[in-house]
């Protein structure tokens, strides 16, 4: 799969996930952080297409990202933040 063969593609994805997770704890910057996060993930999608990845590969990676985000969100909710 092309997306896994190109580690550079994961940079914007991980950055986006990090921004979304971290800024959900910082209420004042929550909107900005989350917008930057989702923009970063959108960049990953565009780059993946440019590298020749197909829909299924991108969806797969995004679903894994979403699962990780849900996990962090569950932890955050458990912490009452």
């Amino acid at each position: 799969m092309i997306v896994f063969a190109q580690p550079i593609l994961f940079l914007p994805l991980c950055l986006g996930l990090l921004l979304m997770v971290v800024f959900s704890f910082i209420h004042r910057l929550c909107l900005l952080g989350n917008l930057l996060g989702i923009a970063s993930i959108a960049t990953y999608v565009v780059l993946s297409f440019l590298f020749g990845a197909n829909y299924l590969e991108i969806i797969l990676v995004l679903l894994i990202t979403l699962a990780i985000y849900f996990l962090f969100d569950a932890v955050r909710r458990r912490l009452g933040k």
Binding site: L31, I41, E57, Y69
Partner: protein, 467 residues
């Protein structure tokens, strides 16, 4: 128009925008025009059917109110007209073909009429209305345009939920304003519906369709797996449609009835039918099962009533023997469950353990019965069950499946379990911005899945549109 068709994504924002720009007194007109446009977009002549049904039932209900002594006559006219239309378009060819198969020497030329989308749903909605007016449970609606909107309200027109007049009409009349809570609730339903449809149902449907296209090529294990997969497909397809309908209606300020309540977590078939296609089963209970005597006229009569209801339920799903067999199988299983209820309740087991066993057994039975539903012919049914039960070979050919598709299907099912816990954007919620990005990510995934289906020519229409 289909919720998953591209024109709908232009239609919906335009309707929502105009709906909130217009003063309240004109909104029902906009919604009526939009609903008729939505319906006519599929096929313009369909409008003639829905308009004639609306006009006739409207006049008959008024007639019942004005001439109480002749209300039986008006009821009969309404029933004959609405069920007559349904019969001609859905069951005429099937009935005639049965006569031919039975050896009757009649010349039979199939009419091959196109089944009008949603006819089974709006027929039942109008029937419920005229019967309620006849029984005095509700008053006849005097405003014809509001009544027409009640029958044709586009979010629920083509595949339900089947609404009662007293639930939907007052909401259509009331002044509705959009607030963040309603918007958030609508968005949640809308996104969940699309995830179910695009990410789960459409992906799994590719596999199911492949196996069911030629059952003789596949092993018993593969057929079993695809039949159980079909259980997920039909749930995600239909409940996904209903979630989208609920979401759109909420954006229009209307709360539609819930059609699904996590049915696969039912611990008995009786519970399953209280949680699956709830509005249709409520209709059958109220207008067929109870008038037949329900469970009040002895055990034999009760079981006969159950069989009648499930025979009609099977027939409602389609004019084909496999649907009737599916309905009857559920009826028989319900009777067996009822007979076994007393001995099973004497077994000493913890309630939790009993419930888990009940959920597993119900899940297996319901999914095995889906084979009858998904089959195309009696020959298919023979192959499905003979391969599953008589020649079960645990062989599995993955050659037509890419690894990504398998993992997506597994992740999609995991996501399905999480969806009920998806947080809601609402007023005063500290995490609204974080949830916006969560929804944005989900919409991105759904969008990619949607275009993937479009480019690969996969499933896009809803299964229940054909009923």
């Amino acid at each position: 128009m289909n919720f998953t068709s591209l024109p709908f994504f232009v239609f919906l924002p335009v309707v929502l925008l105009l709906h909130y720009l217009l003063p309240h007194r004109y909104r029902y007109l906009l919604l009526l025009v939009a609903s008729y446009f939505f319906y006519a977009y599929l096929n313009p002549w369909l409008l003639a059917l829905i308009v004639s049904t609306t006009l006739l039932t409207y006049l008959c209900a008024l007639g019942m109110e004005k001439y109480p002594k002749k209300r039986v006559l008006f009821l009969i006219i309404s029933i004959i007209f609405t069920l007559g239309l349904l019969f001609v378009f859905k069951y005429l060819d099937f009935t005639l073909s049965l006569f031919v198969h039975a050896g009757l020497s009649i010349s039979f030329y199939p009419l091959n009429l196109i089944l009008p989308v949603g006819i089974s749903f709006y027929t039942f909605q109008t029937l419920a209305y005229v019967i309620d007016v006849y029984k005095g449970k509700t008053k006849a609606e005097h405003h014809i345009l509001y009544y027409a909107l009640f029958i044709s309200f586009f979010p629920q027109l083509v595949a339900g939920p089947i609404e009662k007049k007293d639930n939907l009409l007052p909401q259509l009349r009331a002044e509705r304003n959009m607030d963040l809570d309603k918007f958030g609730e609508g968005l949640r339903y809308f996104v969940i519906g699309f995830v179910k449809k695009v990410i789960i149902a459409d992906f799994l449907a590719v596999y199911v369709n492949q196996v069911y296209a030629d059952l003789s090529l596949f092993s018993g294990f593969e057929i079993l797996l695809s039949t159980f997969s079909f259980g997920i497909v039909i749930y995600c397809d239909f409940s996904g449609y209903c979630d989208i309908a609920l979401g759109i209606a909420k954006w229009l300020g209307v709360d539609l009835s819930k059609n699904f309540d996590r049915p696969y977590l039912s611990s008995s078939l009786k519970e399953f039918w209280n949680r699956w296609h709830i509005t249709l089963n409520d209709f059958f209970t109220e207008y067929i099962y109870i008038p037949l005597g329900g469970s009040k006229k002895g055990r034999v009569r009760k079981y006969l009533n159950i069989l009648i209801v499930f025979f009609i339920s099977g027939l409602w799903h389609g004019a084909s023997l496999h649907f009737i067999l599916w309905g009857l199988a559920h009826g028989l299983l319900l009777i067996i469950e009822d007979l076994l209820y007393a001995p099973i309740s004497k077994i000493k087991l913890e309630d939790g353990a009993k419930r888990v066993i009940g959920i597993v057994v119900t899940y297996i039975l319901v999914n095995l019965a889906w084979g009858l539903f998904r089959a195309q012919s009696l020959n298919d049914i023979a192959i499905i069950y003979s391969k599953i039960f008589a020649s079960f070979i645990p062989a599995f050919d993955l050659s037509f499946f890419t690894p990504e598709a398998i993992i997506i299907a597994i992740l999609g099912i995991a996501l399905l379990i999480y969806l009920p816990y998806l947080p809601k954007i609402k007023r005063g919620e500290k995490q609204n911005y974080a949830y916006i990005s969560m929804y944005a990510l989900l919409i991105l995934i759904v969008g990619l899945g949607y275009f993937n289906n479009m480019t690969s020519g996969g499933e896009s229409s809803f299964i229940y549109f054909q009923f």
